[in-house]
Symmetry: C2
């Protein structure tokens, strides 16, 4: 389709994985060294890659800047960061923040458990997450205006990843109703049998759900019931983030200070 661009992309990918010498770059592309050189020089001029002192090429700062530009414009991430990290510390589970962007739901932050870094989850910031087979996906879906929801689901071909996947419109719709009633969602190994999640919605100033925060654990660490014990803390965190975005919770029970509806217990 566009050969040289493909090659450039390939080199970017490789250089992100490990430092790349020119000869190595030429080899992986199957081209002459001079060709690889010119591609790398072009990428370097945009700081997409950077030359190390050793003459190898590694991912450059230009790319990082760009993605920060894209992610950073989502102020949500800034506002949420500290809360998510506190939540991680207190629950000791991995915490995710996902947002609806265009027509997919993307992880925009992830806080790993520093202790259990042996078991890294496959999720990654920037990656899209299943819209119907994840706690965050279902949470956002549940609170979307129905026409939006239909738009997102229309191109979806349901796939039954595991026994618990909601793999058709009917059962998914029922699940979404349940989520709206509870105010939170779970993922009972619906995408990967051994991965459990609970998620809660995050609202913007208009009250619209635009994102979701989740706590994740693999089954050997905690089962779903154990995860649910963190629900009050998760919901509190999600509320705090919503408040920072300008959300005013609907009519606090105590009507004297609507500003500070951060509630329940702390």
């Amino acid at each position: 389709m566009a050969q040289s661009i493909r090659r450039a992309i390939d080199l970017i990918r490789r250089s992100a994985e490990h430092p790349l010498s020119l000869t190595e770059a030429a080899d992986v592309l199957g081209v002459h060294k001079s060709t690889a050189l010119r591609i790398l020089q072009t990428l370097e001029s945009a700081r997409f890659v950077r030359r190390t002192g050793a003459g190898t090429y590694v991912l450059g700062s230009g790319l990082i800047e760009l993605s920060e530009l894209a992610l950073g414009s989502m102020d949500l991430r800034q506002f949420a960061a500290a809360h998510l990290r506190a939540l991680q510390r207190e629950t000791s589970h991995t915490v995710h923040l996902a947002q609806l962007t265009g027509d997919e739901i993307i992880y925009i932050d992830k806080v790993d458990s520093p202790a259990f870094d042996a078991v890294k989850l496959p999720s990654r910031v920037g990656r899209a997450v299943s819209i119907y087979a994840s706690a965050v996906g279902k949470t956002i879906l549940a609170y979307l205006p129905s026409e939006e929801r239909d738009r997102l689901l229309s191109p979806v071909v349901f796939e039954r990843f595991t026994d618990t996947t909601f793999a058709d419109h009917e059962s998914l719709d029922a699940e979404l109703v349940r989520i709206r009633e509870l105010g939170w969602a779970t993922d009972n190994g619906e995408h990967d049998a051994y991965v459990m999640c609970v998620a809660a919605p995050i609202r913007d100033s208009r009250g619209q759900v635009i994102a979701a925060a989740s706590i994740t654990a693999i089954e050997v660490i905690a089962n779903l019931d154990q995860l649910k014990s963190n629900l009050p803390r998760l919901l509190e965190t999600a509320n705090q983030i919503s408040c920072e975005l300008g959300y005013t919770p609907p009519s606090a029970p105590s009507p004297d200070d609507p500003e500070d509806g951060r509630s329940i217990d702390e």
Copy 2:
């Protein structure tokens, strides 16, 4: 040099800034629409850009993933994140984390003050920072082995950004000695006259300084003396992060541990 790759990069850049229609893309490149289309399709296949429902192109998750891969491999960032956010909350100033990468010093994290978001600082994650006209730059420089320091400074052409810039080897060397004596650095508007910083070094398990954390404010918010009042908290934070990286403080006035005979003068 490599025309089509340049064009592709240009489109990536633009799409990061705001959604791009095909016609718009063709216009900014000054090429035919079909050409722009093919470039965008190629980028889309690598998920460097993504088509929105409206048919416009925006930055895709592939790029974000890549940069996260690069940033994430710096475990430092993960370890530091929570501490930096706590520091930000307590001082209410903007907090930066910068790391020596290759031969430049790059911001790898930034915590904005949510309150004063009116005054956004020009710094950005992924962007290189002046090596001699910034608190973090000077901090890292100060503790670098001298041959490394020379290597980094050799290509530098000094530029006097403001009245306070250390714009020659002599005065910079004196400043670095001062920094080593104090254990922290300041930036008294040395790059931008109205931007003040204090910075502290972060050490890895071998005791080597690999990064620096800083607190920043613009002059109208706080002058340098006011910033300095946060020094104890900043130094504490830097130490905490160092500890998470496996650093064992030389602690003890007990002089029996020859392992850490560095610092002071080298």
